[in-house]
Amino acid sequence: MEKDLSLGEFIITRLIKASGYSAIVFVTLIFYFLLREGLPTLGEVELGNLFSTRWYPIESYYGILPLISGSLIVTIGAAMVAIPFGVGTAIFIAEIAPRWAREILKPLVELLGGLPSVVLGFLGILVLAPNLRILLDLPTGLTALAGSLLLGAISIPTVVSVAEDALDSVPRSYRDAALALGATRWQTIWRVTLPAARSGVLTAIMLGVGRAIGETMTVMMVTGNAPVLATSLASLFSPVRTMTATIAAEMGEVASGSVHYHTLFFIGMVLFIISLIVNVTASSVVFRQKKRAERVLS
């Protein structure tokens, strides 16, 4: 009996430890498969072609620059939405809002985070894009701008919750000290609380932007999917195509092992490395990190 117990305990403990290492195994596996399927493209496509401005795989043009620029411009647009609204809402919730307002705002923002991205994309097609077209007098509403607005909305919950956590973790005594010196609450927020929470707020912005780069369905549905090199912010008003949308739209139709297939994996590899850099940088910022993973899943 005693012996059985300790044997059972031995096995369970081993299983638990093995599970503990699983995250490392999966990250390694993911990276391995991206390399395995993506690196061959470097041998199959000339670098001049790969880093050209023309993406037209049917005729063997594999220029990924338009896709990178597409991701970039949509993400910049999303950041311009998510940073002011996300950080502003976080400050409002953490520092200004009365209790009742906080209890309404927080669940609503969480609710936005829970909406499947395909639903936002769907509304983007049916509601947002037609209105943008009329409002801005564009040939089509399916533009980088539509993608940016929706991606901004998708990033806001991440920004709000991480930034609010950062503001919350500023010690009460900092605020009390500032107020005791005669500062108004507004001055306290700007000169004491916000600077003290600076690194956390930056982390929030980075994770929000990271989410925007990786988002797939919404951008595929609303950005018009034209692989045109975006050269300035004016491209916001024309159709673009992002890296994620390219993979999602084309992977279904390519033959396994073809040049096109390898190139799509290569793009996935670039995305993986970007998210790696964003997340490693963000997590190296000293700040309460425990809830992070829960929020940034994209």
Binding site: M221, S275, L276
Partner: protein
């Protein structure tokens, strides 16, 4: 300028920003509900689609999402909870543990479409599971893992250390302490995390695009090796791939999807707040 006036203007600005942030959320919900409600009927929920999916119901998509969610739970719940137990109860504060944490953070940041690529490479081709519920569930499981691990670990860590010490002091082993004291106390928090994680998986499209989603199936999937329809993918299909799709069916599908997702979210919040109210420590 008078600094009290500055404060009043500033507060006004920020409350406007917060209001503008949540207003679209309410509008989105209201709009989908009013537009989608007329489509909802018993037939819409329980019938197969027909006529190029422009008529009939969405039953196979609902069933498919259910299968995928259950499949995801089978893999990700035991693994995720066990990993959380390891991090909270066993792991020492050393380099290996820091690497594990970094890996979890990275997993949580990887774009969902990259999970799709990985699932295609590993499960569909390398392991030869094909485009199937199994491949899609496994892909979604790995994507869900970081959510389950981090919320479960948080719930486990919230159980007071003193309970563990007392349990050990009356002759319990470490595992007995976990099973009889720590896990039961952390259970509501763990369940909340599991629901939030699975909910996210249920609403995802990109990871299943090339690993298990079917455009249209005339019958329900019969085994884990069959491909399946799924609610989010179905919404994507009928809103982008099929011309002259009746709006009502689109909005109805969107309504069913968000009802499912939001109900799960509310359930998770309910379990969390009830456990907090009942907590004895």
């Amino acid at each position: 300028m008078n600094r009290n006036l500055v404060q009043r203007l500033g507060f006004g600005l920020l409350s406007t920003v917060a209001f503008l942030t949540v207003l679209p959320i309410l509008l989105i919900l209201g709009y989908i509900i009013t537009q989608g409600a007329p489509a909802i009927s018993w037939e819409f929920i329980t019938a197969m689609p027909y006529g190029g999916m422009r008529s009939g119901g969405i039953w196979p998509a609902i069933v498919g999402t259910f299968y995928l969610t259950v499949g995801t739970a089978i893999f990700s719940v035991p693994l995720g909870v066990a990993a959380a137990i390891y991090l909270s109860e066993y792991a020492a504060d050393n380099t290996l543990t820091r690497i594990i944490r970094l890996a979890i953070i990275n997993l949580s940041g990887i774009p969902s479409v990259v999970y799709g690529l990985f699932g295609l490479g590993l499960f569909v081709f390398f392991l030869k599971f094909g485009t199937s519920i199994l491949s899609a569930s496994l892909t979604l499981s790995i994507m869900t893992l970081p959510v389950i691990i981090s919320t479960s670990e948080e719930a486990l860590r919230a159980v007071p250390q003193a309970f563990r010490t007392v349990s050990i002091s009356v002759g319990a082993t470490r595992w007995q302490t976990i099973r009889r004291i720590v896990l039961p106390e952390a259970l509501p928090g763990i369940i909340t995390g599991i629901i939030l994680g699975l909910n996210r998986a249920a609403g995802e499209t990109a990871p299943i695009l090339f690993t298990g989603a079917a455009f249209f199936l005339p019958r329900l999937p019969g085994s884990p090796f069959d491909a399946t329809m799924a609610l989010p993918y179905h919404l994507f299909v009928i809103s982008t791939q099929i011309p002259e799709m009746p709006f009502q069916i689109q909005y109805g599908t969107a309504l069913v999807l968000i009802t499912f997702v939001l109900t799960m979210n509310m359930l998770a919040n309910f379990i969390r707040s009830r456990a907090r109210a009942r907590r004895q420590w």
